[in-house]
Symmetry: C2
Subunit: 331 residues, 2 copies
């Protein structure tokens, strides 16, 4: 008999989720049926997108239901298999949720190779955030060598990879991050050409200084005033990738970009993206990014915290600016 | 000696231009030099874009300078030519400005054929508004047969043509216009499938009724709340063409679309356009649209008012919802 601890959704929050949005529970793991696998989850991915999944409103995937285990990406090990595609000991990436054990028919799970790359990297740089960065900046942002690329949340899981890929592709890359420590990290460790500290200077003034000829691509993870500031400095034919809006997720009503008519003046494009649309190309991206990690041109940083019982305290770090790199819950 | 009456810009307005934004003046027409032509302007195009040209801020073309003749598209007749490309009697489309006579080296002017199509149509359906509609809906909106297309300012110079082209291409077309008379015109005369009367009903409720399966393309001439409402009903991969924002031109500060995150959820694109970018393709568009006018599938409606002395009163009709079709000043 195995006991499974899990975190389930108790109610739909308005504004920032309070602790009682979720509750902790446990139950015995059921018997594995034909075609199923039992996975022991090792790492759980914590992402800003989780906030969106709590809302009842129509979105790019269905909301998590009340009473359901909280949705999350995971890395786990198969400990029992009645599915011919998987065997005991396989390491799988998939949607195991915030729980210690998952039973699945294997749909949405794929094997990862833990010998070349650390396990936790498969839910960071080689997981959803990495795939988002890769397809967002290459296929939606359509960067070319010599472009000036501005990235918000530049020290975060997605932004840090966006900027590094843009550097690999020969762009000038400027980040936006909160605080000197994060800005130093972005420039010195990740190799960005500059970084604007939004906590200590005007973003507009910062963009003017760092991007005197304007912006070709702005990768937006935050929305709000920062998006509005970026709009002012678009170059002709600029592309804005709308990947997220972390400043807006906990607001009761979102705030639109007042300077959107810059799109007209500059014949610019603002396009939304959801990483799942590129699922059939993940293997190619994984291959290319693995190579970059091995040759040292792409650095991966994870912020790992222990214990399912600390889920809420760790989750909060997604929004309070405390995390450094990809936020991960270790089970 | 010919006396030329003209309207010149006196100051930069904030908000809606007051009458003293311009002044009326006159002077004798200068002698025509080698390479130049003298044009008697017959029709002057009045367009919402003129409001933008009064602002000092960076835009897609330089602002009109203080003291300069007010910029405007015109149709005129060559009455004297010292330029081998043009001869007396030629009818030219170009940028003559709000004045009775223009002298030019011919740059930016092109000959039109007044035998098949009424003269004034060359500054409407076959002029800037028509070209804007044509390239906006086909090249930016990328409409396909079966798409649901929503068009704001549907009774206006651009919107009326956008909708008719979309009908020709096999789309379902819904307009948004102010008042029953305009909505009736849009449906009964222009052949739209439906029209939402924003003065007498909620635009959101109207879209829900007329576009129950959502919108594939929204052609935006107005901005503000209507753009925000359209965002709520986007289908996957929808395109929003940002052509103008008549609701915003006279505001001290523009209001952004709060629902822009619908772009993310629906992988949608919002792209700005300026018609001048397509100048090298105007002849092709003119040829195709001329054929549509002749075969009756594209209707052109002009709202023509006499007298340069009435410029300001006529200009106001661009913004107060009074005009019906393309607004033109006849000299």
């Amino acid at each position: 008999m195995i006991d499974n601890k899990f975190v389930k959704l108790m109610k739909r929050p308005s504004g920032f989720p309070s602790k009682d949005t979720w509750s902790h529970d446990n139950e015995q793991v059921k018997a594995v049926k034909d075609g199923e696998i039992l996975i022991k989850n090792l790492y759980v991915s914590l992402d800003p997108a989780m906030r969106g999944w709590l809302n009842e409103t129509r979105s790019y995937i269905p909301p998590v239901k009340i009473g359901e285990v909280m949705r999350a990406g995971t890395i786990g090990e198969v400990i029992e298999s009645k599915n011919s595609k998987f065997k005991k000991g396989d390491i799988l990436s998939g949607w195991g949720g915030v729980q210690q054990y998952s039973i699945s028919d294997g749909k949405g799970y794929f094997k990862v190779n833990p010998t070349q790359i650390p396990l936790q990297t498969y839910i960071g740089t080689l997981g959803m955030p990495g795939m988002t960065a890769y397809f967002g900046i290459l296929e939606v942002g359509k960067i070319k060598e010599g472009d000036t690329v501005l990235v918000s949340a530049a020290a975060g899981a997605v932004g840090s990879i966006v900027g590094q890929i843009a550097k690999i592709k020969g762009c000038k890359v400027i980040g936006i991050a909160g605080g000197k420590e994060k800005c130093d990290y972005v420039i010195k460790e990740l190799g960005f050409d500059g970084c604007i500290d939004y906590k200590n200077e005007s973003v507009k003034r910062g963009i003017k200084r760092e991007c005197p000829d304007g912006i070709d691509v702005y990768f937006d993870n935050v929305g709000g005033e920062i998006l509005d500031s970026a709009l002012v400095f678009l170059r002709m034919g600029a592309r804005i990738v709308i990947c997220g809006a972390i400043s807006q997720y906990n607001e009761m009503s979102a705030k639109g970009p007042d300077n959107y008519l810059s799109l007209l003046v500059n014949r610019a494009t603002m396009k939304g993206m959801v990483v799942f649309d590129y699922a059939n190309k993940y293997p190619l991206a994984t291959k290319e990014m693995t190579q970059w990690i091995i040759d040292g041109s792409l650095k991966s940083k994870e912020d790992i915290h222990d214990g399912i019982e600390n889920f809420y305290e760790i989750f909060k770090k997604l929004f309070n600016g405390e995390k450094k790199g990809k936020l991960i819950l270790k089970l």
